[in-house]
């Protein structure tokens, strides 16, 4: 087979494009402020300065990190649980009640979340939850449901009928079938959904922006944004903050890459 030179060259060019900005972030975060102003921006500093990371850690980083973790967990765990149970009903029940339910969730994929921020703001105020972490979880769960239900119900549809029938003979309830049979089989799909939604929640900017106010309710992206305003002239510190805020999600990616990639591309090539 002849080699695909064009594709190959382009593939490597894109690697450089993808990595270069990340390289810039990494080397800049390790420069002292004086080196930053005095050295060539594309060259790493010979003397590594970790003071920027210390500065970020001292600027309430732990609190923002905790907020982000709490919001991610508070979104993903109920979301996955609800999506799994709903998917089970949609796939297992032949009742015609569930056909519109399924369509409703599919339709949800086409809603531009952005367009709903005013009513969500109003709703959260009326529920007396403005400026709380719970306020960030609620819309996150709702808008995460469509894709999660889609992925999990696709996985459930592949479970052989005979397995469920066997459990019928044993006199198991639907509840037992759901947790003892469907859950273990759907585990990969569930991990996919969990990793993907954790990523969405972690990087979310819009809901924290409109639904919170006080500094102690900030999640990392919002904290990063205001941090950049405060440290506008100290770029190395801001770059260190970019790195620290991304480390948890990069770790999650390292753990869930296989699931994440297969989930994001699931079904899109039918």
């Amino acid at each position: 087979m002849r080699r695909n030179w064009i594709g190959g060259a382009f593939g490597w060019v894109w690697l450089v494009i993808a990595i270069l900005p990340l390289y810039f972030v990494a080397i800049t975060s390790l420069k002292s402020i004086n080196t930053y102003f005095g050295s060539n921006p594309v060259m790493p500093s010979p003397k590594l300065a970790f003071e920027n990371f210390t500065a970020v850690l001292e600027a309430d980083f732990a609190m923002y990190l905790l907020n982000s973790v709490l919001v991610a967990l508070g979104t993903v765990i109920p979301l996955v649980g609800m999506a799994f149970m709903a998917s089970f009903s949609i796939v297992r029940s032949g009742h015609r009640f569930f056909s519109p339910v399924r369509s409703l969730f599919l339709l949800g994929l086409a809603i531009p979340v952005q367009a709903t921020i005013v009513p969500i703001y109003l709703l959260i105020i009326r529920m007396h939850m403005y400026d709380s972490l719970v306020a960030l979880m609620l819309p996150g769960i709702a808008f995460g449901l469509p894709l999660s239900v889609l992925i999990i119900s696709n996985a459930l549809r592949d479970v052989p009928r005979e397995l469920f029938e066997a459990m019928d003979i044993d006199g198991c309830t639907e509840w037992q079938k759901m947790w003892r049979l469907a859950l273990p089989i759907c585990q990969p799909a569930i991990v996919t959904v969990a990793v993907y939604q954790a990523l969405m929640s972690w990087n979310g900017f819009l809901f924290p922006l409109i639904l919170t106010q006080s500094p102690d309710k900030r999640t990392l992206p919002l904290a990063l944004w205001s941090f950049q305003g405060e440290y506008a002239t100290n770029v190395p510190v801001v770059m260190a903050a970019v790195i620290l805020s991304s480390i948890p999600i990069i770790l999650l990616y390292a753990f869930g890459r296989r699931y994440l990639v297969s989930g994001m591309t699931a079904g899109s090539s039918k």
Binding site: V25, F37, T265
Partner: protein, 326 residues
């Protein structure tokens, strides 16, 4: 619809068989029916939390935004129904039409830029060589960063004095990238491409891998070269994937709010004040929630309309299976 069996009995006894009384009921004449009802009850109960959540925090806001577009509200005080006042306001503002044009331009430009590149990269990554998997891992890294982090990174990276332009010492790179109404769009489109091409590349990679190898073998026997194979086999086979990816790109372009918000705040002047950003600024900075809601309704219609248009362009039969894929 609700059977006589206590609904909590079905949901609250994991790890235990049904109560003896229920077994007895099965042998009686109405047993089949009551069992079906019981099944239905448990299924409804399982689906209920998700359904309620979705109705309250997604469907209700979607309907709410239509209602609010007929009101005037400053975000704090009372909400007053004022008929078409907000709509009239929204539709007569120059920023609305400007923002609408900009967002349409952005959708077209991001699509034209990202689609060919994603297809090329996806086809390339679909090869079986091991190093291509390693490349795929690297490609995916930009997807992990938040839009806020990306905007902040590029802001410093493009700094004329301390960023990459000065480091590489190339004259044409030393521009006021974010201060010029044309250059700022070059930057924005490049950043969005950098952030989202990896995702679409992965979609195309998966799709190319599913094309049967025998089709290529047959083409080779017929003497078709690489380029010919790409245009005669790969591209036509990617049709449905193209629809999915394009739908996501088009609807997704309506949500590129955060990156623009952090990078330019709509500036310089109003040159990047796309409609979604205009909507946020009108509502949450200008305290005109009614007008913002009218703008939001325009966004919803635009999103649904564009999604439908892409599906329609791709052929009717595709839409059913593609909704599943999206």
């Amino acid at each position: 619809m609700v059977s006589s069996v206590d609904p909590t009995a079905v949901t609250s006894m994991p790890g235990r068989r049904r109560a003896p009384g229920q077994d007895a009921a099965e042998s009686s004449p109405g047993a089949v029916r009551s069992q079906r009802e019981r099944l239905m009850t448990s299924h409804v109960l399982f689906a209920l939390p998700a359904l309620l959540f979705f109705l309250v925090f997604a469907v209700l806001p979607l309907l709410g935004v239509v209602v609010l577009s007929f009101t005037s509200w400053n975000g704090i005080g009372a909400i007053e129904f004022t008929g078409l006042v907000s709509w009239k306001d929204a539709l007569t503002r120059e920023t609305t039409w400007h923002g609408l044009l900009l967002v349409l331009f952005m959708i077209a430009a991001t699509w034209l830029l990202q689609t060919p590149l994603s297809i090329l990269l996806g086809t390339f990554l679909a090869g079986q060589q091991k190093y291509r998997n390693v490349l795929a891992v690297m490609y995916f890294l930009p997807m992990l960063l938040s839009s806020a982090a990306i905007a902040i990174t590029f802001k410093s990276l493009l700094d004329p004095n301390f960023g990459i332009p000065s480091g590489l010492n190339l004259a044409f790179l030393k521009q006021n990238w974010l201060g010029d109404s044309f250059l700022v769009w070059v930057v924005l489109l490049a950043i969005i491409a950098w952030q989202f091409i990896p995702f679409h590349t992965l979609i195309y990679q998966g799709a190319v891998r599913q094309i049967p190898q025998t089709m290529y073998e047959a083409a080779q026997i017929d003497g078709a070269g690489r380029v010919r194979q790409f245009f005669s086999i790969t591209l036509p086979q990617l049709k449905y994937t193209l629809i999915t990816s394009s739908t996501l790109m088009v609807v997704g372009a309506l949500t590129y709010f955060d990156i623009i918000f952090v990078l330019t705040q709509g500036g310089p002047g109003k040159s990047t004040r796309i409609l979604p950003l205009d909507m946020y600024l009108t509502g949450f900075r200008g305290n005109e929630m009614g007008v913002a809601s009218s703008l939001a309704v325009i966004l919803v219609v635009l999103g649904l309309g564009l999604a439908l248009a892409v599906q329609r362009l791709g052929g009717k039969d595709a839409s059913a299976s593609q909704m599943e894929g999206a």
